[in-house]
């Protein structure tokens, strides 16, 4: 089982819808410990991405991922722009030349994205950032690939791992980003970046469940 270019586009559209629907929720999370713009910025970026998807019907997966990354870099701003931009740019590099993505490709793609985000943001898991959702998802996909499970099952497990990672950010004290200025006061709040990253993994599981 594997996913092709059309499936990737469906996933990205679903993520854009999810961000649009929960824009206010993401911004509310951000106003507790950041600067109240995460939902607004991600929605602006994903709206711009959706505007480009129609023109990408003939592109391959890697080219589409790179276009998404560059669009996010130039429209999101804040910290989310370079981080989500880098994530998708790395997805593009990792999927170069592939017409379809098998589970092993997904594991490699998410791993490349996580490495890119770590390097750009100089953050580690446990710092209360999007990595806290993405790293467990990567680990789950890597293990699933080794176990020979199906892509659909693996993506569902990865989404659950991302959700657990997101919830685990609640008691954490932020060490990166604007939330870190709050020190101990950042504890008790769910990280907005980890939340949008969970949405990314959840929409992958939902739209690609047949994979």
């Amino acid at each position: 089982m594997s996913v092709g270019h059309d499936d990737v586009v469906r996933w990205v559209r679903a993520f854009a819808d999810e961000v649009a629907e929960h824009k206010d929720f993401l911004t509310e999370l951000d106003s507790a410990i950041g600067d109240a713009d995460h939902g607004i910025n991600m929605n602006r970026g994903m709206t711009a991405v959706v505007g480009k998807l129609d023109g990408l019907a003939d592109a391959d997966i890697a080219a589409t991922m790179k276009t998404i990354g560059m669009t996010l870099v130039s429209t999101v701003g804040g910290a989310g722009g370079p981080l989500y931009g880098t994530l998708f740019l790395q997805f593009g590099t990792s999927t170069a030349g592939k017409e379809r993505l098998e589970l092993a490709d997904w594991a490699a793609m998410i791993a490349a994205g996580v490495d890119g985000v770590r390097a750009r943001g100089k953050a580690e898991p446990g710092d209360k950032t999007m990595l806290d959702a993405l790293s467990p998802a990567r680990d789950t996909l890597t293990e699933a690939a080794a176990d020979g499970s199906t892509l659909g099952t693996a993506l569902a497990a990865a989404a659950s791992a991302a959700e657990a990672g997101m919830k685990a950010t609640i008691p954490l004290v932020a060490r990166k980003g604007r939330a870190s200025y709050l020190g101990e006061r950042s504890a008790g709040h769910q990280d907005p970046g980890a939340t949008s990253s969970w949405m990314l993994m959840r929409t992958a599981a939902e739209t690609l469940a047949d994979g």
Binding site: S31, G34, D35, I40, T75, G77, G80, R175, G177
Partner: protein, 333 residues
């Protein structure tokens, strides 16, 4: 939310349109990507200064574009860092062949976006030096935070660095002057009220009628400590003590004292703050040899203020006194 706006989505664009109409003698404005450059850019043979950050801090940075200060400013959405393509376009528009200094306030988003922009500019052969501003003593500088925020010292760096560039000093020297300003400047801010990001529609944090927040940044992010409002005499002590102890500023020092309004505080209160600050510093033997009082680095309509002290020597004093002609700061010309 009550604001003088049409549509929250269009605030930045419509404000830039206003700037274009108001100051054609000083600046040119480019829309998509958004940037403001001095009217005579690029100035051949002069190091160019490019700064940028989220909107909502006016007059910073667009109001500081002009002779003797910035060559370009990149405004992002309200409280949101501008993007690398904006910064790259602005850098190219002002590059006069002597290199470009990027003035970056230490916020995660600004740092990452400017980092990507500098990579893009260098890959196309433009010499870029990045200078970080991180002067906010309210934030503990440790491995466990994103580091100190860039606040009031940014304004002083843009003025002093701009004067050094105007003297046709080389890139490395202009960047080092900027770093010297950062090394000798310290700030602290406080809020009496929150502020409302137009696109969010409600205040970023809640603050009771009798409360104040000490150690705030410039993005409506909460500070480190909340307490009952006190007389300004006490508030100035709460802010100035950690500033003075941090550098440290000591007896015999000459300083530039910058009392900044956060956007919603009247000038009369800023002068009350300055009066308290002057007696606080006098008590420690510190001389105020230059001052700046007004709302220059703001947080939308927030009530409150910040205090910045910059330790001066003859070089910094001369560069501060040098002529400047921008929408928000203008003397000597």
């Amino acid at each position: 939310m009550k604001k003088l706006i049409n549509d929250p989505e269009n605030v930045v664009r419509e404000a830039l349109a206003g700037v274009t109409l108001a100051h054609p003698d000083l600046v040119r404005v480019n829309i998509d990507p958004h940037y403001v450059v001095r009217a005579d850019a690029p100035v051949q043979g002069k190091v160019a200064l490019v700064s940028g950050g989220g909107s909502g801090h006016e007059p910073m940075h667009g109001g500081f574009v002009g002779r003797g200060m910035l060559d370009a400013a990149c405004p992002g959405e309200v409280f949101t860092s501008p993007t690398p393509d904006q910064m790259e376009a602005a850098t190219k528009a002002v590059d006069g062949g002597a290199g470009v200094v990027h003035i970056v306030k230490n916020y995660t988003g600004d740092v990452m976006n400017f980092e990507m922009a500098a990579e893009l500019c260098r890959s196309e052969g433009t010499d870029v030096e990045s200078v970080l501003v991180d002067d906010d003593v309210a934030v503990q500088d440790s491995l466990y935070t994103a580091g100190r925020r860039g606040v009031g010292t940014t304004v002083l760096m843009e003025k002093i660095g701009g004067a050094a560039a105007e003297e046709r000093r080389p890139l490395k020297e202009v960047a080092d002057i900027c770093r010297k300003v950062n090394d000798n400047g310290r700030s602290m801010g406080m809020a009496l009220t929150s502020c409302t990001v137009p696109a969010a529609g409600k205040p970023t944090f809640e603050l009771g009628d009798d409360e104040m927040e000490i150690g705030i940044g410039i993005h409506g992010e909460p500070g480190r400590e909340r307490m009952k409002v006190k007389p300004v005499h006490d508030i100035v002590g709460l802010m100035a003590t950690p500033i003075v102890e941090d550098l440290p500023f000591s007896s015999g020092d000459r300083v530039l004292a910058f009392v900044n309004g956060m956007g919603g505080t009247p000038l009369i209160e800023l002068y009350v703050v300055f009066n308290e600050l002057a007696s606080f510093l006098d008590g420690r033997g510190i001389t105020i040899s230059r001052n700046l009082i007004g709302s220059y680095i703001t947080s939308l309509e927030m009530q409150g203020c910040s205090i910045t002290l910059l330790k001066l020597d003859d070089e910094l004093t001369a560069l501060w006194d040098a002529p400047v002609r921008t929408a928000a700061l203008r003397w000597g010309v």
